[in-house]
């Protein structure tokens, strides 16, 4: 798996932001109420780690970025 480019990351982030906000609602619906502060703090940390993980991936010229 190669590292996505800045454009790919921006599009993935758009999907991730929506998913994160919706996820808290889904958790509430199945009886897991997470306070808003810890939830978004946790999500932000997770998001930061994910970005670092993405940058740890090898940068390889795929046809898309060629």
């Amino acid at each position: 798996m190669n590292r996505p480019g800045p454009v790919g990351l921006a599009i993935l982030t758009a999907f991730a932001v929506v998913a994160v906000i919706e996820l808290r609602t889904v958790l509430g619906a199945i009886g897991i109420d997470v306070a808003i502060g810890p939830y978004y703090a946790g999500v932000t940390i997770l998001f930061g780690v994910s970005i670092l993980a993405v940058y740890a991936l090898p940068k390889n010229g795929t046809p898309a970025r060629a």
Partner: protein, 582 residues
């Protein structure tokens, strides 16, 4: 071949003017959108009163779904006709005339709506708090209806102008197939002529005389049915130019070619034939229409899924072809080879994705039994914000990034800014649209300034109502930011800011399977229009006859008079006639 703006300067001027009008309407509608979103969700409800909410709602609806969309599409269609036929307008004065009529009509209707913000009497009771559906018993000032009629006639003239161009081209090229873009414009306009017959009759023969005081009353069910005769196909009027963008622009941006010209023609013929005889599915809860007619409308509506599925196949196949031309490989990895850095491509792709989701919620709306669950709830609002608010509006905005250089001769200001704008719109609409659907399932009504009147409490089946309201408000804010970015971008692109190159000539590549593979009968517009008319008559004659028989042409006392005097007279005349020919 040069840049369109230089090749056809007069036509490019009209296209720019039409897009400019569309963007003014978009700005006005967008401003009303954020005001009503924050008011309704309770986050900021002190800016307007609950009474003014309906003025805001009407302006939002009319500006967005009638003015923004239609101004944009006439500009886009003007380009499509001129560029695909390779000829100027037959008479540019006619082209400017229909555009001028549309502007005049739009201004009249907008003034009437804006009058609703002023106290009664200060503007001579000019108001039009009738929402974008404007059927009786809600009544507007006559200037609103007259404005709509002028606007409508402007669109009709535009169609005549384009048919005239096509006819002249046909005389010069008798043995050639109509170019795909011109074919799409012509089928769309034929559908529009059929669809607008209902609303034209309603406005000219009932609503204008009623608002002028010539009639004391009108048959509300009749005006509502005539509105929806137009009100559903108008959705396809917005959607068909979007389909043209997806069929023509997206494959090109992807680096490939349209997969199949014949399939695209079939899709547009299906829209021409099937769009109109579906409107009664908006009236499932109307007690004045028999269930059988509603069932017929539901069946016709479900058939309309076919052109959408065909489009999904053709567009995705074209994109895959383009991606593989760019070196894409594998079952799904080719997706990464697509030009996601281009806001035009990304915006239209996300719009298509949202349209797929909206199609599924549309099937719920169209299903006769399950519609009762969501009818008149916020679900419906969520549905059309994902269709017209995303599939159409986002495609139009995204296409602008590709289209602007063609009609101005100058490149856009910044692709990155454009990309941020379309992504913000996507995020905002996913949040708002999804939350509206779920709030609708909880029974939250639409078209209500304060849904919690009478201390009613809604229980969300999936998430709390407070959370859904937050998501709606957040979505609305993101959409407003996106609009702000869009307008900033348009303004910056209009001036000589930065080091931007002049636009280079752009052509639409030939399809992989060209028009020579399409059966000639597909281009027989007379045949398809006749089929469409027959279907409309089969679907509408009996329900309309039933509505008039039961409620009279004008409802109320006039209807009783008609039943007492006119109908027996007609019946006697028919008896005499039958006796004579018998």
């Amino acid at each position: 071949m040069g840049v369109f703006a230089n090749e056809y300067p007069d036509e490019a001027f009209v296209v720019r003017a039409a897009l400019g009008s569309a963007f003014v309407a978009l700005a006005l509608g967008g401003l009303m959108g954020i005001i009503q979103t924050l008011h309704r969700t309770g986050y900021y409800d002190s800016l307007i009163s609950n009474a003014d909410y309906y003025t805001v709602l009407t302006l939002h609806g009319v500006a967005m779904v009638l003015l923004f969309t239609i101004f944009f599409l006439v500009g886009f269609f003007q380009w499509a006709m001129t560029d695909s036929l390779g000829r100027e307008s037959e008479d540019i004065r006619i082209t400017k005339l229909w555009y001028g009529m549309m502007v005049l009509g739009a201004a009249m209707s907008a003034v009437a709506i804006l009058g609703g913000f002023f106290d009664s009497g200060s503007l001579g009771d000019v108001q039009a708090d009738v929402l974008f559906t404007f059927y009786a018993p809600l009544e507007a000032h006559p200037i609103f209806y007259v404005g709509l009629a002028v606007f409508l006639v402007g669109t009709w003239l535009a169609g005549v102008d384009w048919f005239r161009s096509w006819w002249a081209w046909k005389q010069d090229n008798p043995n050639e197939r109509t170019p795909l873009r011109a074919f799409m414009v012509l089928t769309t306009m034929l559908m529009w002529y059929l669809a607008t017959a209902g609303v034209a009759i309603s406005v000219i023969f009932f609503l204008i005389p009623w608002s002028l005081g010539i009639f004391d009353s009108v048959n509300a069910l009749l005006t509502r049915t005539l509105f929806w005769f137009f009100g559903h196909p108008v959705v396809y009027f917005w959607l068909m130019p979007v389909y043209m963008m997806w069929y023509v622009i997206m494959p090109k941006l992807a680096g490939g070619r349209l997969f199949s010209d014949p399939l695209a023609r079939i899709v547009f013929v299906l829209f021409l034939v099937l769009s109109v005889p579906t409107g009664i599915h908006h009236q499932y809860v109307d007690p004045g229409i028999a269930e059988g007619f509603k069932f017929l409308a539901m069946t016709n509506t479900m058939f309309l899924l076919l052109p959408s599925f065909l489009t999904a196949f053709t567009v995705v196949a074209s994109l895959e072809h383009g991606a593989r031309q760019r070196g894409g490989e594998g079952y799904f990895s080719w997706l990464t080879a697509l030009p996601w850095h281009r806001p035009a491509f990304t915006g239209m792709s996300l719009a298509g994705l949202m349209f797929a989701a909206a199609g599924f919620s549309g099937m719920i709306n169209a299903g006769m039994s399950i519609n009762y669950l969501v009818h008149n709830t916020l679900w419906v609002v969520g549905h059309f914000h994902m269709t017209v608010g995303t599939a159409v509006a986002l495609s139009f905005m995204a296409a602008t990034y590709w289209f602007l250089p063609i009609i101005t001769g100058r490149e856009i200001f910044s692709r990155r800014l454009g990309l941020a704008q379309v992504l913000l719109w996507f995020m905002g609409m996913v949040l708002m649209g999804n939350a509206m659907h779920r709030a609708g399932l909880a029974g939250v009504p639409r078209r209500t300034a304060d849904p919690t009147y009478d201390q009613v409490v809604f229980d969300g089946a999936y998430g709390a109502i407070g959370e859904l309201r937050f998501q709606i408000a957040l979505g609305g804010v993101l959409l407003s930011l996106s609009l702000l970015l869009f307008f900033t971008h348009i303004v910056l692109s209009s001036f000589d800011i930065g080091d931007r190159a002049a636009a280079t000539p752009d052509t639409i590549p030939a399809p992989l399977s060209g028009p020579e593979h399409a059966p000639a009968v597909l281009d027989n517009l007379r045949l398809w229009t006749t089929v469409a008319i027959v279907l409309i008559l089969l679907t509408y004659i009996l329900p309309l006859a039933s509505i008039v028989t039961n409620g009279g042409w004008l409802g109320g006392s006039y209807g009783a008079l008609v039943a007492e005097y006119v109908l027996p007279a007609v019946s006697s005349t028919l008896d005499v006639f039958v006796g004579v020919i018998g």
